[in-house]
């Protein structure tokens, strides 16, 4: 097959030509994968071929090796590994050869494909000669080969994990990269490629950073590169510094003075992309120190492996003025939507992090700037001053801030109503929100909101909700935190007199023509939700009046048909907001005696609306509607049974939704809610539900985060239907067992994995607890006896690993008790023989966490009986 033409056709402007070409490529791939990949690599490596066909050949090759979805990626890896060795050798030869091509695009594409192959093969100990042949290229004279090789090394380091590359190779790679970065390197292309490669190589340099000489040299080269005349090199070099600041925080003390000078100069003089990275360096140092100081303050004082060097505190007198300076560099017509990133935004963000790192110390350094600028005629100065104030509200102590806030509050309220500049008002409203978020609430000793100023605050905020969308959005945010601060107030909330007005104003905002801008509508609904959630006995009757209003809104969205795709997207979003609002209302009204009965009169109608929302969206199920139904099930209890015949198909759809895994996860949670609501009445639906859940578990398409809740859901079902769970045991138990074994073998290398393992174990243990409790007092208890040994083993194992969190500990000791309780003497000897039950129990008995202790005391009694009988 002449692949060149097909590849060119596949990029044709003519749709039918393109489609035909794509089909032929697909057919070729399906019929003869090896031949297909070989001809693609041939195409890529041949300098006689057109650039366009070579580029597409490389792209298809790359996509044949990697995919975003985990399961697809796994399949591709397996497919490559099972390919004939001779074929692979030939392809790899072509790829390496391409690195010497004179065509830049071909080289660049090849280097990415090489990295993908390396990502698959190096962990398998295949392609051992790759690194040496790449390093051999470095010494070749042609600059373009050197550049491509460095690029390849960089991509390769991004793809493979450091432990599959020997230190000897790492040393050589680093040497090559550092040489390429050196100021003596004549070619800008080579130097840029080397600097970018350095970024990825840093994670391999653990050993080298522990060696003073080598570290000094690397740092010197990186710092030098930040002074390059080439913007892209400077930017890449600063990115390296940022990476070093988080990976090698404890090693950079000797260089901090130099780095400060470099970053200060860049922030002041350099172009924005570079200046942003220079600021990012300090933000990143703040991240590190905040983490370390949090560890210091935690239960295990001084448990942090890395000591704090207090770089921020030391740099403070110079750092703060530098950052304040950036606040004055706003863009003229700055887009107020979320995601804006410029010098002022980055500087304020960094200032906020600095405040969190050093606390009170920042206040005297920032206050003069605020005082000087807050009343200046130039809006930039007023905005910068306000922004500075808003940024430092988290971190310093309330003692320090409250007096300042008391003075500032009135000023801010006035500015929000009268300042002519939109940008200033936006930042002012945001600052008010920050004040309420961090300095208002029941835990504060001196309240900043008083009877005297409450009315003014609300009047101003409600007024600002009529301002431009960006200002109105920030005003909603301020109201959100204001409301939240009164969350656990016992007596009459100061908001009570204004409740009706607040609700009305928020509803008005949701109806604004321009509510789609600046995410204003979302902010208004979420603020309304918070108002509902925090309503008190006095105001909750008004929440009840809100029910038909929101229902009507939802109903209206269901009446609109024949919409454009954009309108349809907006409609979906609105339905989500309304379902979310109903969810909060249901949770609130359904849980209070005062309102429950009156609210229940709406239950049928609300459920009907939810069912229509589902029917409306044919394919996928609305996550928010699902969540709301969970709350409704809890409120209605056994009565929810009447909705099941109609609702079940949507439940099943939700459980089948692999792509939108959050929907699946929420639906799994709703199954639990329904089990608790219906108890044994859920039985008729269980065959279908269990079938779906088991399918979900065996699918490698489903996101792993859904699996722990599915296990917990087994427990919910068993608890609801008791011994009727018998028929599912033969499926559920092996699944649980293999998941338990899997969780035992995960290497606990990174925090994310440890967290997932804990979640998984918690899910498994909750399943066991539910099953034991469900079978208790049933003559079928003996069906569980054969499973007891591995459960006890599992408990032994998680105890001995010593990395379980409190959640797992509590669930685990509960399972031990449930096992003893349900199986009685059948479990007695098993527990006595177990390696660690006794130690585990004792450890839990002496736990500080009273919930763990309570579970342990219960387990102790249950075990005592099981052993004594």
């Amino acid at each position: 097959m002449e692949v060149t033409q097909v590849l060119l056709n596949a990029q044709s402007v003519d749709g039918s030509v393109r489609k035909h070409a794509e089909e032929s490529l697909k057919r070729f791939q399906d019929e003869n994968l090896a031949g297909f990949l070989l001809s693609l690599s041939g195409e890529l490596s041949s300098d006689e071929k057109p650039v366009d066909s070579r580029r597409l050949a490389g792209l298809i090759l790359k996509n044949a090796l990697d995919a975003k979805e985990q399961h697809r990626k796994f399949e591709l890896v397996q497919r490559w590994l099972s390919l004939d060795v001779g074929v692979k050798t030939q392809i790899k030869h072509c790829l390496l050869q391409t690195l010497s091509s004179h065509v830049h695009e071909a080289r660049s594409t090849a280097s990415q494909v090489i990295a993908k192959v390396a990502g698959i093969e190096l962990p398998q100990k295949q392609w051992p000669e790759l690194i040496s042949s790449l390093l051999a290229n470095i010494h070749q004279v042609p600059v373009h080969v050197k550049q491509a090789t460095l690029e390849t090394l960089g991509y390769m380091c991004e793809e493979v994990s450091p432990d599959v590359v020997e230190q000897e190779h790492v040393n050589k790679i680093l040497t090559a990269v550092v040489q390429g970065m050196n100021s003596s390197e004549g070619s800008t292309d080579v130097r840029l490629a080397a600097t970018r490669a350095m970024y990825n190589t840093l994670s391999f340099a653990q050993a080298n950073f522990s060696n003073d000489m080598e570290r000094d040299y690397i740092m010197k080269v990186v710092c030098e590169a930040t002074l390059s005349s080439e913007l892209k090199i400077r930017q890449a070099a600063f990115e390296c510094l940022v990476s070093i600041s988080s990976s090698y925080y404890e090693k950079i003390a000797p260089y901090m003075q130099d780095i400060f000078n470099i970053t200060a100069k860049a922030v002041k003089e350099d172009e924005e992309p570079v200046a942003l990275q220079a600021i990012e360096f300090w933000s990143s140092i703040c991240d590190e120190e905040i983490d370390i100081l949090e560890d210091y303050a935690g239960d295990f004082a001084g448990d942090s492996e890395i000591p704090c060097f207090y770089f921020i505190k030391k740099a403070l007198p110079a750092l703060v003025p530098m950052l304040l300076e950036t606040l004055l560099k706003q863009e003229e017509d700055q887009d107020q939507d979320e995601g804006v990133w410029n010098l002022a935004m980055a500087g304020g963000t960094c200032l906020g992090l600095v405040a969190r790192t050093v606390g009170d110390d920042i206040v005297p350094l920032v206050m003069p700037f605020i005082e000087e600028n807050i009343s200046k005629p130039d809006w930039r100065q007023r905005e910068a001053a306000t922004y500075a104030f808003g940024s430092i509200l988290e971190g310093p102590s309330p003692d320090k801030l409250t007096p300042l806030v008391n003075v500032a509050l009135n000023f801010m309220l006035t500015a929000l109503t009268t300042d002519p500049n939109n940008h200033v008002k936006d930042t002012t409203a945001w600052t008010l929100g920050r004040i309420f978020e961090f300095l208002h609430g029941s835990s504060m000793e001196t309240p900043i909101i008083t009877q005297a100023n409450c009315q003014q605050i609300i009047t101003v905020l409600l007024q600002s909700m009529k301002d431009a969308p960006n200002v109105a959005e920030k005003a909603c945010g301020a109201l959100y935190f204001l409301t939240q601060g009164f969350e656990d107030i016992d007596q009459t909330s100061p908001l009570t007199p204004y409740f009706q007005e607040i609700v009305q104003s928020l509803l008005l905002v949701t109806h604004r023509e321009d509510a789609g801008e600046s995410r204003l509508r979302t902010a208004a609904y979420e603020t309304l939700n918070e108002v509902v959630r925090c309503s008190t006995d006095e105001t909750v009757p008004m929440v009840l009046q809100l029910v038909p209003v929101i229902m009507m809104e939802l109903h209206k969205t269901l009446e609109e048909h024949n919409l454009s795709s954009d309108e349809r997207r907006k409609q979906n979003e609105l339905q989500g907001l309304l379902c979310g609002c109903l969810q909060v209302i249901i949770q609130k009204l359904g849980s209070l005696e005062q309102t429950k009965y009156a609210f229940m009169q709406y239950a049928d109608q609300i459920m009907n609306l939810f069912l229509r929302v589902f029917a409306f969206r044919s394919a996928t199920v609305h996550e928010e509607a699902m969540l709301a139904i969970g709350s409704l099930a809890y409120s209605t209890g056994q009565d929810f049974a009447k909705y099941m015949p109609e609702f079940y198909k949507y439940l099943e759809m939700g459980l089948q939704n692999f792509e939108e895994y959050q929907v699946c996860a929420v639906t799994v949670g709703v199954v639990g809610d329904i089990c608790r609501a219906l108890e044994e009445k859920v039985l008729p639906w269980c065959d279908g539900i269990m079938t779906q859940l088991l399918k979900d578990l065996s699918s490698n398409q489903l996101h792993r985060s859904v699996k722990p809740p599915i296990f917990s859901c087994f427990g919910d079902i068993a608890l609801a239907i008791g011994e009727n769970f018998e028929k599912y045991l033969m499926y559920a138990m092996p699944m649980l067992q293999s998941a338990a074994e899997l969780s035992a073998h995960t290497s606990s290398a990174d925090d994310e994995m440890i967290e997932y393992t804990n979640l998984l174990r918690n899910g498994i243990l909750e399943a066991y607890s539910g099953i034991f409790q469900g079978f208790k007092n049933s003559p079928k208890t003996q069906l569980l006896i054969p499973h007891a040994p591995h459960i006890v083993q599992f408990l032994d194992l998680i105890y001995m690993e010593k990395d379980m969190d409190d959640m797992v500990m509590k669930t685990a000791i509960g399972v031990l008790g449930d096992l003893a309780d349900t199986l009685g003497s059948n479990a007695g000897s098993l527990i006595q023989q177990s390696l660690s039950s006794k130690d585990f129990l004792n450890e839990c008995l002496s736990s500080d966490d009273h919930v763990i202790k309570e579970s342990a005391e219960w387990a102790k009694l249950a075990i005592g009986r099981a052993i004594s009988i």
Binding site: E105, V242, L276, Q277, S284, R676, L719, E766, G814, E857
Partner: protein, 519 residues
Amino acid sequence: MAGETTPPSHRRHPIKHTVGNAAVQRRRQHAVSVAKERREAMFRTKRLCMEGISISSDAATDNEMMVDEEPMVLESQTSKAVEELKLAVSFKGKDAVEKKVHALRELRRLLSRSGFPFVEIALKSGAVPLLAQCLSFGSEDEQVLEAAWCLTNIAAGTPEQTKALLPTLPLLIAHLGEKSSLSVSEQCAWALGNVAGESDELRELLISQGALIPIAKMMLPDNGSTVRTAAWALSNLIKGPDPDAATELIKIDGVVDAILRHLKKPDIELATEVSWVVVYLSTLSDVATSVLMKADIVQILVDRLAASNNLQSIIPLLRSLGNLMSSDAYTTNVVLDPGHEITESIIRSLSKCLKSEHRFLKKEAAWVLSNIAAGSVAHKQLICKSEAVSLLLQLLAGAPFDIKREVAYVLGNLCVAPADGLGRPSLLLDHLVSFVRNGCLCGFIDLVRQGDLEAARIGLHFIELVLRGMPNGEGRKLVEKAGGIDAIERLQFHENDDLRMMAGLLVDSYFGETYGLDE
């Protein structure tokens, strides 16, 4: 693709952001965590409901769901358990025993719970006749054990509930025999001990049904748990008021040996239960007292007292020693000879008790000490040389009334020599002077002012000693100065003849019409 690919630029979350995203996130997380809390509450509720363990009272009231659901669930569970037992008892097929044991076990677990009227419901549902059936002769051990356990829990209830056991008592006693396994007889003894503890009538009934000997025999072997239970049940059985059971008990072969043997064991709980048996034996039966005395039990008790630090174990030891001393002078005169180490040892131990935090120990110790103080002059001197005296003086000054009164007995006894048969006991002047110099007179005068007859009598006696004994007639001034005259005069019109006479005599003899004119 291809072309320019730059490394991902660092883009952090801007500090200035819209409220929406975080709020949505937070709201959804809240919804999910509510579900998680409900699941946990459910686990907890099930554990509490089914298991009958009162974990902690605040845990039970914290959780609304539980408060709402528990009683109903539990009530139906209890009556259901009795119903199950009924079915199991009438079941004749294979596994009949297994079914019964299972049903009994369920019932027993419910009955073990506190804080809810399980027993009441079980009784109403007709549990006792079923349990009696399960105790029938020839039943499997496990079945009898579970039935007896159920009955034990019922017997621990209110008096009415305990009486409900009446029809089962002969069977429970029958299972005490040597043919039963240890655990069965122990459980039966436990049930019977509960019954015996309830009332005099039930005690008599049990003794008439022959419970004493088999329970006593359970004390003979060396099995700790069985002996402990048997000793506890025996204490309940012999605690009177009829002393016959105690006398009968001491005559049973091997009982005395067993008591002495167990008292020497390191097992504190065991020794404590056994010493309670000694308390009742020595309280009620002189025969028992003299038998025990001759068996040299005092030495064992004193040794144990010296080694004990725990309130629960000290109380019966003190009580036993006091009983033995007060009922037979042999104890004080012969066993506790002032020259023997044992006597110093007991005084040391009693001083320790006087120092204790527990008011009860102080009082009991003072009572025992008053018995020693009633002994020979040498005994008195021994006490006066010990640290006990200063403790007693402190207590007289500041302790609550009941302790004060016991202390006053001791101090009073210490000031007089045993009567020589010629009327008034002679004074031990140096003791008296020393006590008075240490300010004890006020304490005694205070006792006179209390409404208590006995206390007033001790007080008056001591005042008489002071008036009579203090050198240079100093007594009168001291008594007057301490407000004694007023206290005595009040008694001149007391309804009790003795007191009135004593008070009148004192006033007439020492504070007559001439009083005050001498000077």
